[in-house]
Amino acid sequence: MSAGVDEQEQANPGVQRGPGNDLRLVSLSKQFGAFTAVNDLTLTVPAGSFFALLGPSGCGKTTTLRMVAGLEAPTAGDIFLGGQDVTRLRPYKRPVNTVFQNYALFPHLSVAENVAFGLKRRGRKKVDAEVARLLDLVELGDRGRRRPQELSGGQQQRVALARALINEPEVLLLDEPLGALDLKLRRQMQIELKRIQTEVGLTFVHVTHDQEEAMTMADTVAVMNAGVIEQMGPPGELYDNPATTFVANFLGQSNLVAGHVTRMRDDLVEVDVEGTTVLASRTRSHADSGAVWVGVRPEKVFLDSSGQTRDHGINVVRAGRICDVSYTGVSTQYLVRMPWGQELTVFEQNTGARELFRVGACVDLGWRAEHTFVLDAAQDAHAGVEYEDLGT
């Protein structure tokens, strides 16, 4: 082995470091043979933000990440970091580091040597203090001499994180880094990741298929489907105001009912749903005429016994019949069969204010106009549904 020989050829990241370097993808496309993995993607990740690329498997999110890392060459389009075009730079010339899904820790090196790898390749001689600081940050200060394979999955994940963070990259890419962990550990690591991101202030781009993970951690979520971004924004905005049926179904659950727009008022849209007029605010209407999907989130709906509707609902649809009750402790999930045959979902907190409805009970459904969203009926009402069930 030629120890020392390679030390002379220090990799030299080609981009000036410093704050304020946004990551910009411009018309980025990637094709594998006839398959289009990423299709004309344009987006900006602001410096210092926690950005989540959310989508089902095969939607192109990991490919996008790998193109940013330089491990995949785009078929078309450009990648900018700050002002500089990094599209054609070799991976080791980019101030970008990745936490891989399977961690990809070097089995022949100790934990500390793994963490020191990036610094040493850039010609730093004294790395011990820095390595110790990073291992402390991920709470593995006493494991530096171990081999990665002697650590648990959660610990390996943190080594992978420390190994990437130590280089203080402009952008840290996280490729489903929590996918292999069990639920409890994953929740713990989500909080941890968010804490570290806030502490070090780097730009994180996090790829995941777990909508809850994306929403709890990210400042901005981009929902990706079939190689394109369906919608992008802060988690709350995406959840409350989905622009497509895919987003409505993939991010949480939605009740989508067919209707058609009857009238536009100043800031409200009137939609006829099976003979009942339903109001929606115009800011949440993504279609303004003709056939539409009227949507409402299950937890935004109130249930009342038929004929006893109180005034908390502006929109009321009547004469539903409870056909399934599932009690989950903190809440109860009802399936309500409507007179037109569709089953709607309602989540109710178990506040104890009223007894649970039983199967067969006749109920009215009420919800506020501002919780209603209107989507173009040209889309499939079930887009994104099956993925939601797979996600955890």
């Binding site: 082995m1 030629s2 020989v5 390679d6 050829e9 990799a11 990241p13 890392a69 330089g70 491990l71 070799r90 991976p91 080791y92 970008v96 580091n97 990745t98 891989f100 399977n102 990809a104 820790l105 070097f106 089995p107 022949h108 100790s110 790898f117 990036g118 390749r121 850039r122 001499r145 081999r147 190994r163 990437a164 280089n167």
Partner: protein, 270 residues
């Protein structure tokens, strides 16, 4: 009484696997024990009979005429063939495991052929090749070396390729992601991970080369390797010094295995 018998019976059936294992080990090591024992025999004869104990064979193994020259030749050829076959074979294994090229599947089959074909066939065809190429007068060290590199190569390729295909190339991507260029990635990540496979392949190549008689005998001309020497003298009488060499080889291999194990354990503890 019956209870004792039953208990004894249980003990025997419970340890049956161990008994069988010991028997098998005994069966495997008995011939080697004979070699070790005979290295202390004081007279040369054909019968492999222990006549009396002496340390003379060990203090002067080269006293048997021509043997040490043969051993030296075998060691030279073995080392050179190992270096040549390991170098070429490792490069071939990388090419075949990492790259897709026209004729890769044919190459994959081709590499198995020398392992599958009988040595006598390979030996005679090599001899025919050398003779028809005009080397009939110069058979010797060089032709033996060429032949040995040839038949060791397949084993090296197969061993290294197995190691490579078990390796995640995500590790190399991770290295590139962590600012290691192609050269650094190879020496810092790929090579250390494939190294155990290469060492294993080299050891295998050396023992194959040191051991070979059939092919060597056909392409050796006037040269004599250790196996050829043993065959030659064994028809008259077997000098006990041969057993000294045999025992020394055994000790060296045990030493190598023990050292490898010590290194492995030390590394795991660190």
């Amino acid at each position: 009484m019956t209870a004792t018998l039953v208990r004894a019976g249980r003990w025997v059936t419970g340890h049956l696997v161990m008994f069988v294992a010991l028997l098998v080990l005994f069966y495997m090591f008995l011939p080697i024990m004979v070699v070790v024992l005979m290295s202390f025999d004081d007279t040369a004869d054909v019968a492999y009979q222990f006549n009396g104990f002496t340390l003379a064979n060990w203090s002067d193994p080269c006293s048997s005429y021509g043997m040490c020259d043969a051993v030296a030749k075998s060691l030279q050829i073995g080392l050179l063939a190992t270096v040549g076959a390991t170098l070429l074979g490792t490069l071939m294994a990388f090419a075949m495991a990492r790259h897709h090229f026209r004729g890769r599947s044919i190459a994959n089959v081709g590499i198995f052929l020398p392992m599958a074909s009988p040595e006598i066939v390979m030996g005679s065809s090599l001899l025919a090749l050398f003779v028809s190429a005009g080397f009939a007068g110069q058979l010797g060290f060089a032709t033996i070396l060429i032949a040995h590199i040839m038949f060791c190569l397949s084993f090296v390729v197969v061993a290294v390729k197995a190691r490579l295909s078990g390796m995640d190339n995500g590790l190399e991507q991770a290295a590139m992601d962590l600012y290691a260029n192609e050269w650094q990635t190879f020496w810092r990540v790929t090579f250390p991970l494939v190294f155990p496979g290469i060492v294993g392949a080299a050891l295998l190549a050396f023992s194959l080369s040191f051991d070979d008689y059939i092919i060597t005998n056909l392409v050796a001309g006037q040269s004599q390797t250790f196996p050829m020497y043993v065959w030659g003298v064994s028809r008259r009488e077997i000098p006990p010094q041969i057993n000294v060499i045999g025992t020394a080889m055994l000790l060296v291999s045990i030493l190598v295995v023990v050292m490898a194990e010590v290194v492995r354990r030390g590394r795991n503890r660190a």
